[in-house]
């Protein structure tokens, strides 16, 4: 080792010797040759308790033993320690690793095999910087405070554009996914080949990748995957099988149905939503008898989508038995009566015996369920009227609430924009009469079923007619309405939000409504497109500085960073 040679060469010794006095006479007999450990032991005990006379030194420093202080044992020990410390540092012997494994580009490998190449492009350094600034505390350590939803938005955008995270970002993203459950899908989507390889090096990261139902980049045709793979792999395999051949997919699931755990049965059954057809009816009908409620719920949902199925026929029969359109002179009205006890078939089809709240009558709850079970498209056929007219019909005898509850539940579970719109338009004067959410979806939940553009228009209209400082309930409702619109907002809503902020510009303290909107605006206002919202916000902030102006500037800065990121993944 070079260091050792240097010491015995004398050139190193020269430097050390130059610091010492001239070599003195030899110490007394009875001394010994010591190693560094001997020196440490002696020093720890204390020379006053147990003296140590040094005549020689182990190792590379042996040649310098003559330089030790002769008169003073303590000084001699320190001298010796100095020599041996330096020798040890200069003579460090590293490990030599045995290569017994395949070579890659001429280098022997030990440790994990290297990651395969990834064809997908990496985020550019500018995008990485923007992401770190926005991701903030989620990508700790050492970054500004950020927002996990914002981070998830950007990662999703990157993944949709076909990009993967750049290598230096991967450890921070994986750590963020471990800490924050809601970030996991977004992070796993941008891991790419290198990210998955990296996750394989640490058990906590590997768990994230395993648990996520990640769509594989290439469809897997490997039957082994179905038998021995992870949940994510089974899901992916079933999905690709189902796409390839719907019947084969269903049969694959049916074959192993019994051995799968309940929650996985529900998840995999939902895969049959792809390429659903009447051929699936028998299997789904059998699933109505499953032990797990989650599975039964999925089966019911899927069967509702098959108009020719026995399930739908039974539901329609039950409903038409208790609801009838009647004409009172010119005006039509809806006659309804409370149903009797449900039979076994009805219970199997999912009719609950017990209402969710004691305030609701048993019969009324049955009526609601019967109505909710029918596919909404069926009503227009049955009654010969469009949805908007049907919901406007007067209903018999205090049963209006129950009938509308049924339609609302159907609109939410069947995600019918048309019926949601109609029901919202007609509204409900009693606002559900304090029924629990399971029995009465409120306007908010109905609005979630609207198509995004309708929802945005609705929210914009609401903002236009709301005062700047309404009561807390109205303000919260408006904020919730706007918050429910998928981001980024269409132009109409964005303009409406900006208008509200503009109206608040002259106030010294920011009221609840604009404050809530400002919080949402960082994610909601479009970063790209015709109107430059960041510039408008900055103009707003510059025009009339208030104490809350820094918040506006921060929002503008966030939008600019989002824009920088989106430009990099175009």
């Amino acid at each position: 080792m070079t260091g050792a040679r240097t010491v015995t060469d004398g050139s190193y010794v020269g430097a050390v010797n130059a610091s010492f006095d001239d070599p003195p006479r030899r110490p007394d007999e009875g001394g010994r040759t010591v190693s560094f450990e001997d020196l440490v032991t002696a020093a720890t005990i204390g020379l006053s308790r147990k003296p140590l006379a040094i005549t020689g030194l182990d190792g590379p420093a042996a040649g310098c033993a003559g330089a030790l202080d002769a008169g003073d044992q303590a000084a001699a020990l320190l001298d010796a320690a100095a020599l041996m410390t330096a020798a040890g540092r200069g003579g460090f012997q590293p490990e030599h690793v045995v290569s017994g494994q395949p070579m890659v580009s001429g280098q022997p490998i030990i440790g994990p095999p290297p990651s395969p190449e990834d064809a997908a492009p990496e985020l550019s350094p500018r995008a990485e910087r923007a992401l770190r600034q926005l991701g903030g505390a989620q990508l700790a350590p050492g970054f500004a405070a950020g927002d996990k939803e914002l981070l998830a938005d950007l990662l999703a955008a990157a993944s949709d554009a076909g990009y993967v995270a750049s290598a230096p970002l991967l450890p921070d993203l994986l750590d963020a996914a471990v800490r924050t459950v809601s970030l996991r899908p977004a992070v796993t989507a941008v891991l790419g080949v290198r990210g998955r390889w990296l996750a394989g090096q640490r058990p906590d990261w590997q768990r994230i990748v395993d648990a996520g139902a990640v769509p594989m980049t290439a469809p897997s045709n490997d039957p082994e995957l179905w038998r021995t793979g992870t949940r994510a792999e089974r899901h992916a395999h079933l999905t690709s099988e189902r796409e390839r051949d719907p019947d084969a997919g269903r049969e694959l699931l049916a074959a192993d149905w019994a051995r799968l755990p309940g929650d996985e049965r529900a998840i995999l059954l939902a895969v049959l939503r792809h390429r659903l057809s009447a051929d699936d009816e028998d299997f789904l009908d059998a699933a109505l008898d499953d032990r797990a409620e989650a599975v039964r719920a999925v089966a019911r949902r899927l069967l509702t989508l098959l108009p020719g199925s026995g399930f739908v026929q039974r539901a329609t029969d039950r409903a038409t038995a208790v609801v009838r359109l009647e004409r009172h002179g010119q005006r039509p009205w809806l006659n309804a009566r409370l149903p009797g006890d449900p039979d076994a078939a009805a219970i199997r089809d999912g009719v609950d015996a017990r209402p969710p709240s004691p305030a609701i009558g048993i019969g009324a709850w049955r009526l609601t369920q019967f109505i909710a079970a029918v596919p909404l498209s069926g009503w227009s056929a049955l009654l010969g009227l469009p949805a908007s007219d049907i919901v406007g019909l007067p209903v018999a005898e205090k049963l209006r609430l129950d009938v509308h509850a049924g339609w609302r539940l159907a609109a939410v579970s069947q995600r019918s924009g048309e019926w949601a719109e109609a029901l919202l338009a007609v509204g409900d004067p009693e606002d559900g009469d304090n029924r629990p959410p399971a029995a009465w979806p409120d306007d908010q939940r109905l609005a979630a079923a609207l198509p995004p553009s309708t929802r945005a228009a609705r929210a914009a209209a609401l903002l236009a007619e709301t005062k700047l400082t309404p009561g807390p309930a109205a303000a919260n409702q408006a904020i919730a309405e706007v918050g429910g619109v998928p981001i980024p907002w269409p132009g109409g809503l964005a303009d409406a939000v900006l208008a509200v902020l503009g109206r608040a510009a002259s106030l010294a303290a920011l009221p609840r409504l604009p404050r809530g909107l400002l919080d949402l605006a960082a994610r909601g206002l479009p970063a790209t497109g015709g109107r430059d919202y960041a510039a408008e916000l900055t103009r707003l902030a510059d025009a009339r500085p208030q104490t809350w102006t820094p918040l506006v500037r921060k929002t503008a800065e966030t939008i600019l960073l989002r824009r920088a990121f989106l430009e990099e993944i175009r």
Binding site: A15, L78, Q201
Partner: protein
């Protein structure tokens, strides 16, 4: 467009728009500068020699007066923004970059006044010595009359005497430690490191005496010793090693006159004799394209500091730059004594003349003249292997026995510990199969992510027993770890 007037003042070459935009402190300034980069918003613009000026219509009643000194660069604007440079300065520079600023023979009044003011302040600053570290000289290095020189000589002698006395006391203290026994060191017997007990280490008192004896370097080492007794297995060996090094330093000082000059300079520097930056700047410089390879924040001392490792492309020489936090500043966010140096990041290439401090081996340097703006280096200088690194350190030790950190630039593959084997550590394996232990924690995962199992170029610091990686090259940029 140039007005065509023959200007006798040498014009600096026009910057590109990209270079101007790179100066922007944040995205919104960059955007606003774009808007202000058009001539429509400006009046009374001109450039003469190094100074650029103009008036920009703002939201206030009077237009803002904006001036830029291109030699700095330095900016002046009467707008209320706190950013440097503000969007008006950037807009003015963009106008100049696009060629819409006419050359004039004399600057506008407000620009001329500002420039004169700046020049006066700069001259005053040069006269006084800039403190770049706590060890720097407090007295001016400019020699005055014969009487001043005699006084200076007397001071130097007094200092040497004080240091000698102090070190003698240190040696006797060290002997006592070894005689009484290291096991008697306070906090050694208590199992847990005391957190709530007073923060005084066992060597704090002798450290204070060293400060009195004008040996601050020794004092700093002593203060660092208080951590060792609680640091876990093997601590007596580590403590003995530190004591031995101090003992060696004290003995070296005794023979200072008889040592070769460079070794003597090293000894003085380690003890803490001040060196004025002016004296260093007077020494011969090395001009090269210096690539910043690693930056390390030093948070353990009394004053936060930052250490940068640079390597010259042509000369292959290493240089270490040190800067410390300005008094009253925490070090971060601009509170540095030398902000231009503190801002340098790994992967930057600096075309400059560096002046080395006296001592051997030549590592510590200070930046003299800069010949160009810092640019991004697209590839690192040629990297070595583990054997070259260890040989380099050993050679350094020959010259400075107290050397505990050595710069590293090598190719290697990081290997995480294998969970199955106990006591396994991270290692960096070079192409020859030599494995060096790796220090650091979170940063090692970033290193592994960038490497992907393939060899990468790593820059860092070698300490006895381990390599601390500071940066790794990923494609065409350096990633700080």
């Amino acid at each position: 467009m140039s007005v065509g007037s023959t200007s006798l003042i040498a014009m600096p070459a026009r910057w590109s728009a990209d270079r101007v935009l790179d100066l922007a402190p944040d995205e919104s300034s960059r955007r606003s500068a774009g808007a202000l980069g058009r001539p429509a918003r400006w009046q009374g613009v001109g450039v003469a020699g190094d100074v650029l000026w103009g008036l920009c219509a703002g939201s206030g009643k009077n237009p803002y007066q904006v001036a830029v000194d291109l030699s700095g660069p330095a900016y002046k604007c009467s707008c209320p923004s706190r950013k440097f440079p503000c969007k008006h300065a950037l807009g003015l520079l963009l106008n100049w970059a696009n060629g819409s600023v006419p050359e004039e023979s004399t600057p506008a009044d407000f620009a001329a006044a500002w420039l004169a003011d700046r020049r006066a302040r700069a001259e005053k600053a040069e006269k006084s010595v800039v403190r770049t570290d706590p060890g720097d000289s407090q007295s001016p290095a400019v020699p005055g009359t014969v009487k001043d020189q005699a006084a200076a000589a007397r001071r130097v002698q007094q200092r040497a005497q004080r240091v000698a006395n102090g070190l003698a006391e240190l040696q006797s203290w060290l002997r006592d430690q070894v005689l009484v026994g290291l096991s008697a060191t306070p906090t050694a017997t208590s199992a847990a490191p005391s957190a709530t007990a007073s923060a005084r280490g066992h060597a704090d008192e002798i450290a204070a005496r060293m400060v009195d004896a004008q040996a601050p370097g020794v004092a700093a080492v002593l203060r660092g010793l208080s951590e060792i007794p609680g640091s876990g297995e093997g601590w007596p060996g580590r403590l003995l090693g530190e004591y031995a090094q101090l003992h060696l330093l004290a003995r070296a000082h005794q023979r200072l006159g008889g040592l070769p000059p460079d070794l003597a300079a090293t000894v003085r520097s380690r003890i803490g004799y001040p060196t004025s930056r002016q004296d260093v700047l007077a020494r011969q410089s090395v001009t090269d394209y210096w690539v910043v390879l690693g930056v390390r924040d030093l948070l353990d001392g009394q004053v936060p500091g930052r250490r940068l490792w640079l390597r010259g492309r042509d000369s292959g020489r290493w240089a270490m730059l040190l800067t410390f936090a300005a008094p009253g500043g925490a070090g971060g966010a601009g509170g540095w004594q030398d902000p231009d140096t503190a801002r340098l990041r790994p992967g930057t290439e600096l075309h400059a003349s560096l002046h080395y401090y006296p001592g051997q081996p030549a590592l510590r340097a200070t930046v003299g003249e800069r010949h160009a703006q810092p640019a991004r280096a697209e590839r690192p200088p040629a990297a070595g292997d583990a054997a070259a690194l260890l040989a380099g350190y050993a050679t350094g030790l020959e010259q400075d026995p107290w050397l505990t950190v050595w710069p590293a630039l090598l190719t290697g593959t990081p290997v995480p510990p294998d969970g199955g084997r106990p006591g396994d550590r991270w290692r960096l394996v070079d192409p020859g199969g030599v494995a060096l232990p790796l220090a650091g924690r979170e940063s090692l995962w970033t290193l592994l992510a960038v490497s992907g199992g393939y060899p990468v170029t790593v820059a860092g610091e070698w300490h006895p027993g381990g390599l601390l990686p500071l940066a790794v090259w990923h494609r065409d940029r350096a990633v700080a770890l």
